[in-house]
Assembly symmetry: C2
Homo-oligomer: 361 residues x 2
């Protein structure tokens, strides 16, 4: 088992990573939340259906804590909106959960973002704990305190910075995770290596598809979470350095939205990284050839790399409404070499041209 501590100004918390028994998961949650007046467990509907760990975990929690009740969240991204948040808050109120209650979120990134945002706003804030069940949520959404939902104008445009009391990443949940989702999550692992952990990137390049072997995967996850923990610890509110975590996300989010969310987030980030490396090479910032190396690695990991097929006029328009945009320039993350990231304000027009040029023959 690995435990990483996220050091924050107000309160630090632990991220535990391993194949746990449900009793171990429950014990770690109990240890971090004190004596709550009740425990509201929000679970992604699909996870509740397919994973025998959910009922087992409910039993384990019920044996240790008061008023443990379950509420199902609409599967996947369909819980990531304000209507769904309102329904969850209505359920919490009707069930009598008060300010001394704790929310436990179980599911992928959408469910953990939903659970965290609900915890942030229900009664103006209650404590929460997270059990990510996907690779993406484990290495990305569950650490860092970014919670939120989508609105018509874009993803994650409504949310809060709100930190959990603990994250218990039980890798046993991956047993019931669809292969496509496991693969998509790997994009964020590659990203972590590229922006801040040269050794992780080298390991992935050396292993290729073998990176999915459980022990290798656990090691890669730990390294990726460590990157996120370090960056978040430096800059909780994303006032500066934390933005490097958005590598591949400016173009990625636009591609994801333009696909009508048919693409998974990790798949879109894979494409976004290919584009971002091309922009970096065009600007003379990224070491020549790195784009090709990364493209090859992503392909070996079964991730999509064909940006050209996805680059429509709509994608370019969507880059404009990216929320990280400040006035006329886009705050863009470039990777000069594996393990190193820099922030760069690129004029919108220039960015569009360089993204476009990257896919021209």
């Amino acid at each position: 088992m690995t435990t990483l501590r996220v050091p924050l100004a107000e309160r630090s918390y632990d991220v535990h990573i391993a194949n746990f028994s449900v009793d171990e998961v429950a014990d770690r949650i109990v240890a971090s939340i004190g004596k709550p007046s009740g425990v509201a467990v929000l679970v992604d509907e699909r996870v509740a259906q397919v994973s025998p760990r959910v009922p087992a975990l409910m039993s384990a929690l019920s044996g240790r804590l008061p008023k443990v009740q379950r509420h199902l969240l609409p599967r996947g991204e369909s819980c990531k909106n304000l209507e769904s948040v309102e329904r969850t808050c209505q359920w919490l109120a009707e069930s009598g959960y008060d300010r001394g209650s704790v929310v436990v979120g179980i599911g992928g990134g959408a469910a953990t973002d939903h659970a965290g945002f609900v915890a942030a706003v229900y009664l103006r804030g209650v404590a929460f704990a997270l059990c990510p069940t996907t690779l993406l949520a484990t290495v990305d959404a569950s650490v860092g305190g970014k919670t939120g939902v989508d609105i018509a104008a874009g993803k994650n445009l409504v949310g809060a910075f709100y930190q959990p009391r603990v994250v218990v990443a039980d890798l046993s949940f991956f047993e019931t995770l669809p292969k496509r989702e496991l693969v998509a999550g790997m994009a964020e692992v590659v990203k972590a290596g590229l922006i801040a952990d040269q050794a992780l990137f080298a390991k992935l390049e050396a292993e290729g598809a073998a990176a999915y072997v459980p022990d290798s995967l656990a090691a890669a996850i730990t390294a990726a979470v460590a990157v996120k923990v370090a960056v978040v610890g430096e800059d909780e509110r994303e006032s500066g350095r934390r933005a490097i975590l958005n590598f591949g996300h400016t173009v990625g989010h636009a591609i994801e939205a333009a696909s009508g969310y048919e693409l998974l987030h990790g798949e879109a980030v894979s494409l976004g990284m290919v584009a971002a490396l091309a922009v970096g090479e065009a600007r003379g910032v990224t070491r020549p050839g790195l784009g090709e190396r990364v493209r090859a690695l992503l392909a070996r990991l079964s991730l999509p790399v064909d940006v050209k097929a996805r680059l429509s006029a709509e994608v370019l328009v969507r880059i404009e409404v990216d929320k990280k945009r400040r006035t006329d320039a886009v705050r863009f993350v470039l990777v000069p070499r594996p393990g190193e990231a820099i922030l760069c304000d690129i004029p919108l027009q220039e960015l569009k041209e360089q993204v476009l040029a990257s896919v021209l023959p």
Copy 2:
């Protein structure tokens, strides 16, 4: 002009109170928000219709700050829900407001609660300033950082603690405020005197209806805001002492909800204070006779005092779902004598009986 400083852990801010010119209002906003990338002015629709100060203020702001645009909020309480918050966020995103933008909220308590919550969650938080236009919002909603909206299960069940950069309380807005709303707001002024400012309470008792004379009113407002500032400064997150501000609110909120919000918040608080003093007398905490004195004062101020007419079975049920409730007891505020408040956990059953007994002949 009076300026009160709200001292908070992370960042303090000023509350300015006076009859200002629009240029003075604009100058105070500019001084507190630095150099924003844009200014989104959220205005209660009714205020925008009736007050000539709104277009004048828009001009004054436009002359000083970039990208000053106006968005109307559904009048009064009808903006205090998540649907309306989503519409505002959608407008902000479509209008290209980014993280460097500032929200300015103009209106009554519902509009300022809406504006504050939008500022708390749009892009996970942007800066905001408030111009309360009602007496209630001036002495209550605009100070303290409690923002939020209602859901079907109850008022203010979804929200955030989020502090403004500045509050400019321009009493000139009261010129277009309906008399009934001015009167309702006075309930919170009486409350401030009762819980923490004996001199304010004595002044109100000495003046009666003359408390509405502009100069008297300005002095009373300043005293009431000072109470709120002191209490909030001690306990930003309502972990303890701040709860005394809820005096009259447990029963008041229940009456307000049971009336289908036909009663104004201040009117319901007036009735709630009458009930809370009766409970205090029944428990031997409140000095005998204080209930009658307060009832007489509220009546002279044209506030409703006939609790009996409003005490239905529904009200008693609604007290149970009050969000301040912890397990089986209600965290209740009692006033032993003017200027002093104590917190008391009262078993739910006992509370209901004492509230009921208070209205029996």
